[in-house]
Symmetry: C2
Subunit: 256 residues, 2 copies
């Protein structure tokens, strides 16, 4: 539903899918004196409209170094460019490591974070010899990993659980209950991939999950001991989170 | 066959497979005041042996920005470390964008360039919306490409031909005749991949091949017109070479 903007033009709300290589970013969310994805998007939009900086909202606040193939954003655009020209104009002003696609109008109140139903993340581990071509988007684990133990540990995440033991310290959320609808380890020639889908994730939760999986795969922790640590709800019992570089936000799912 | 080194130790010749992300390199071959793969390998070896810089030979002189998953190198090592420790020591001293694997002793006269039987290159084209995660290792072509026309153009490279029309200007080689044993366009969700295998390649030959394929795919040139330009042997008739970033040296094959 179009709204009146300050300058008297019709302001339309849009959503878009955003892809980025997180290597050179301090994360999605705007921070003072840091290069962020949100910051680049807001700057491109402000340059395009020639107006004041408008907020760009994202579905997930990915951390520094985390990538996205399917981040979803929303913003209000007071200009008159049609969708295709607006996509091209914004992409033309974005740096090479961020791009926007599938731009489309949405109702004025659309918030990509609160409207999201599920989020899907993927984490890639390379368990072969050191591989520079995989350096930016995988975690290199040198010790041979037991994929069956990892699959067993991954299974334990499925369902509705209190994930307090996997939350980053200092995060203030109302509840640490989340529902994981898929948690799977896939092994092929491209490496070991962990795919997880949930109604929401706590801060550093996927990386903590992977920290647990690697501990199971390397034999440091029994899958049963990890299940007990998850149930205990004490994050000091959980292995440290895995590095950001292996993580990618694949998809955000919305009700029709 | 071990040889006596200057310092009186036994010097053994080794070969190794080398992988690199070519983005930050001025190419494989050493050049003054430029960061090169050969330069990094020679520096690591010199630091390890504490001796003077020994030459590292490569099978292919990849250009600036070209990647390798299976470059093959050879060097003479005067030290006493066993193969596994030598691999680890060298990898420990190499930067994150170069790594070495499959180190093994070879006869003293082994030259990875002259001993090679076939070389395999792969070039990846992304024909979808702009994709930052593919930025480093693919060529982005925005216009929709006709894969059938590209496949037809690729077929014409197979066999023994004079590739003078695809050679970079200023290169001085004895002959521009090369035998291409495989030249194939593969299309899947990861993009459009061109795979080519030959007994040797002229300077910028693969990128010129891809320049031709893209011209065929975009409709700028008929495959038959390209075949005629190849036969004419005049490089002014051939489309310009495609960007380096999409190219990777996949494998070098040696007689047993």
């Amino acid at each position: 539903m179009p709204e009146r903007a300050a300058r008297g033009r019709i302001a339309q709300r849009f959503r878009a899918t955003v892809e980025y290589d997180g290597t050179e970013f301090a994360g999605f969310q705007v921070q003072p004196d840091a290069r962020t994805v949100q910051g680049e998007l807001e700057a491109a939009l402000a340059r395009l409209t020639g107006g004041s900086r408008q907020p760009v909202q994202g579905a997930g606040r990915t951390d520094a170094g985390v990538h996205a193939a399917g981040q979803v954003i929303a913003f209000t655009y007071p200009g008159a460019l049609p969708v295709e020209a607006l996509t091209d104009a914004l992409n033309g002003m974005l740096p090479p490591d961020v791009a926007l696609r599938d731009l489309r109008p949405v109702p004025a109140g659309f918030n990509p974070r609160y409207a999201a139903r599920y989020r899907e993340y993927r984490y890639t581990i390379w368990n072969g010899p050191r591989s520079p071509l995989r350096e930016r988007a995988t975690l290199w684990v040198r010790t041979s990993l037991d994929v069956a133990a990892m699959a067993e540990a991954a299974q334990a995440f499925e369902g509705r659980h209190d994930f307090a033991s996997l939350a980053s310290s200092g995060s203030s959320v109302k509840t640490t209950l989340r529902t994981v609808i898929r948690s799977e380890v896939v092994f092929d020639e491209g490496g070991l991939t962990y795919e997880v889908e949930a109604d929401g994730f706590l801060r550093k939760m996927v990386r903590s999950m992977v920290g647990g999986l690697v501990a199971a795969g390397s034999g440091e922790r029994e899958p049963a001991a990890l299940a007990a640590a998850l149930a205990a709800g004490d994050r000091r019992l959980w292995p440290p989170p895995a590095a950001a570089c292996g993580l990618i936000l694949v998809r955000v799912d919305y009700p029709d």
